[in-house]
């Protein structure tokens, strides 16, 4: 049988999927053990013990200086920035994308600008944001907005223009005015696609968040990682990275589930 026609069973597929994780863990464990055997104070590859101790210190004990539970404070601060940034970007994407997708006059006017903006590397204008908006929360949120909104705008506009022309004619023969065409035909059909666009934008959004926090912040997941880097505190950095990954996966899956629940027609080939 050809290789392309050989499919794993359910159990085999799960096992095959888990295997790389186990291999990675084993390699790390072996390397860590070896280094710790040579030097019990080695910081580069901390063992499980050191990492749980670090998590316990960061998440479940008050910080001696500030009295906060640092990991939760960091998580809350980062999620707040991420949520605000992505939320504002999604809203802008919806408004501009719908207008661009359905109104030829607006498209002629705005589409070139959106295309140009989406080509600007957001990190290159981070200094400008710091200068204009100061070092506070606004500049970090703005970086996420500027980094993710233009691409989502283009995506939404593209999806709107992909709606069949027959539908556009049909709703006009039902007496719809332009506003109704947007609110009753384009908007509801583009919402689940917007959620998909948000899911894809979350990767870049995390990147911009951590970059901004690393440069100017007093709390946040990215801030903490870059702070403890000075002491080579891999026992904190590694759990933080895993925690960020877990958060990203949970957010992504929540959005996927919301999409299924809210738009039952969308995931069954109804579009």
């Amino acid at each position: 049988m050809r290789l392309i026609n050989r499919r794993p069973g359910r159990l085999t597929a799960t096992a095959l999927g888990i295997l790389p994780f186990i291999i990675l863990l084993l390699i790390y464990g072996a390397a860590s053990q070896q280094r710790l055997a040579e030097n019990p104070n080695d910081k580069l590859l901390p063992g499980l013990e050191q990492m749980t101790a670090a998590v316990d210190r960061m998440a479940f004990q008050e910080d001696r200086r500030s009295g906060d539970y640092l990991m939760w404070v960091d998580t809350l601060a980062s999620l707040e920035r991420l949520g605000m940034g992505v939320g504002v970007a999604a809203l802008m994407a919806l408004v501009v994308g719908l207008a661009n997708g359905i109104l030829p006059l607006v498209r002629a006017n705005l589409a070139p600008l959106v295309s140009a903006l989406s080509m600007v590397p957001p990190l290159a204008i981070l200094p400008i944001l710091f200068i204009v908006f100061g070092l506070g929360e606004l500049s970090k949120v703005m970086l996420i907005v500027i980094g993710t909104a233009p691409i989502m705008m283009r995506d939404v506009a593209q999806r709107v223009s992909e709606l069949p022309g027959e539908q556009l004619i049909k709703i006009q023969t039902l007496g719809a005015n332009s506003w109704q065409v947007v609110t009753r035909m384009a908007l509801p059909q583009v919402l689940p696609r917007l959620i998909d666009a948000v899911r894809l934008s979350l990767g870049p959004a995390w990147l911009f968040l951590i970059a901004a926090e690393a440069i100017a912040s007093t709390e946040g997941l990215g801030y903490r990682i870059f702070l403890v880097r000075r002491y080579l505190a891999m026992d904190v950095i590694l759990p933080y990275v895993i925690w960020i990954t877990v958060l990203a996966i949970v957010i992504d899956q929540c959005l996927r589930l919301a999409n299924r629940r809210l738009f039952p027609w969308y995931n069954v080939g109804g579009h």
């Binding site: 027959e166 539908q167 006009q172 023969t173 039902l174 007496g175 506003w179 059909q189 027609w265 109804g270």
Partner: protein
């Protein structure tokens, strides 16, 4: 004055002549079927009736007035595909037009106005045989059922003209026959004026009151686009026989061959 009158109508795209010198008078309540080879302008003519295209020369009048240049609620349309909204259930699809008409800003009905409208919707769904499927999504319906839905969606607006663009082209022959019966029954009950474009000459020959054959009178093999099509046969149905059907079939097939060459 006729309900719809077409006077010396031409449609050209640059050098390509699609329709030449079209003349037609249609009375209210007629059921016209439009047949012809591909590229003979029957769909273009339907688009002009719809307001999606405008003529190059000539007049297209609805009760003496020029046709509006964009689609409106007086002219319903059913396409071969994609005529229904995938994000609305069957019932919501039919309700849509009533909501749009009564609520220009919100586009949604609530309370007693909504239940009143839903009563009309359910009557319409019964009429087209979709009563039991009222709460399904369009993707759960077969192709024939989707077309029933598209027809119901248009008819609830009581349009003055119903335009059908190869509505049954994608359906199986058996289902197509059911749809013919449904369409004839609706037409008799509502008394609406219908224009239907079809590929299927037989369908055109036995459905409706009037057959309009779009064909080219002149064919130049070296310049297939130089001459446009016009209405070559305008027949009341009932006076038709097999030999005439064969003649028309022959002529349309020849034109199609010229087009392809």
């Amino acid at each position: 004055m006729s309900f719809i009158s077409v006077n010396k109508l031409w449609k050209e795209y640059g050098d390509q002549v699609v329709l030449e010198n079209l003349n037609l008078e249609v009375e209210q309540g007629e059921f016209c079927t439009l047949v012809g080879a591909s590229g003979c302008g029957k769909s273009t003519f339907l688009k002009m009736l719809l307001g999606q295209e405008s003529q190059s020369r000539g007049e297209l009048l609805l009760e003496g007035e020029t046709f509006p240049a964009e689609p409106d609620r007086n002219r319903g349309i059913v396409f071969q595909r994609y005529s229904v909204f995938p994000h609305l259930t069957v019932r919501q699809n039919v309700l849509m037009g009533l909501e749009l008409e009564q609520k220009p800003v919100l586009g949604k009905l609530f309370g007693s106005a909504r239940s009143e409208a839903l009563k009309k919707v359910d009557d319409m769904l019964e009429l087209v045989g979709l009563g039991p499927s009222a709460n399904k999504w369009p993707h759960e319906l077969s192709g024939g059922m989707q077309q029933r839905l598209a027809i119901a969606q248009s008819l609830i607006m009581r349009p003055r003209v119903l335009l059908l663009d190869e509505p049954f082209g994608a359906l199986d022959p058996g289902i197509r026959k059911d749809m013919h019966e449904l369409l004839l029954q609706l037409w008799r009950e509502i008394g609406i004026t219908i224009f239907m474009v079809t590929h299927d000459l037989h369908e055109g020959f036995y459905l409706g009151t009037r057959l309009l054959v779009f064909d080219k009178l002149r064919n130049d093999p070296h310049a297939p686009n130089a001459f446009g099509a016009t209405i070559t046969y305008d027949l009341p149905i009932g006076q038709t026989d097999e030999r005439l059907l064969r003649d028309i079939d022959q002529s349309v097939t020849n034109t199609a061959r010229y087009q392809a060459a």
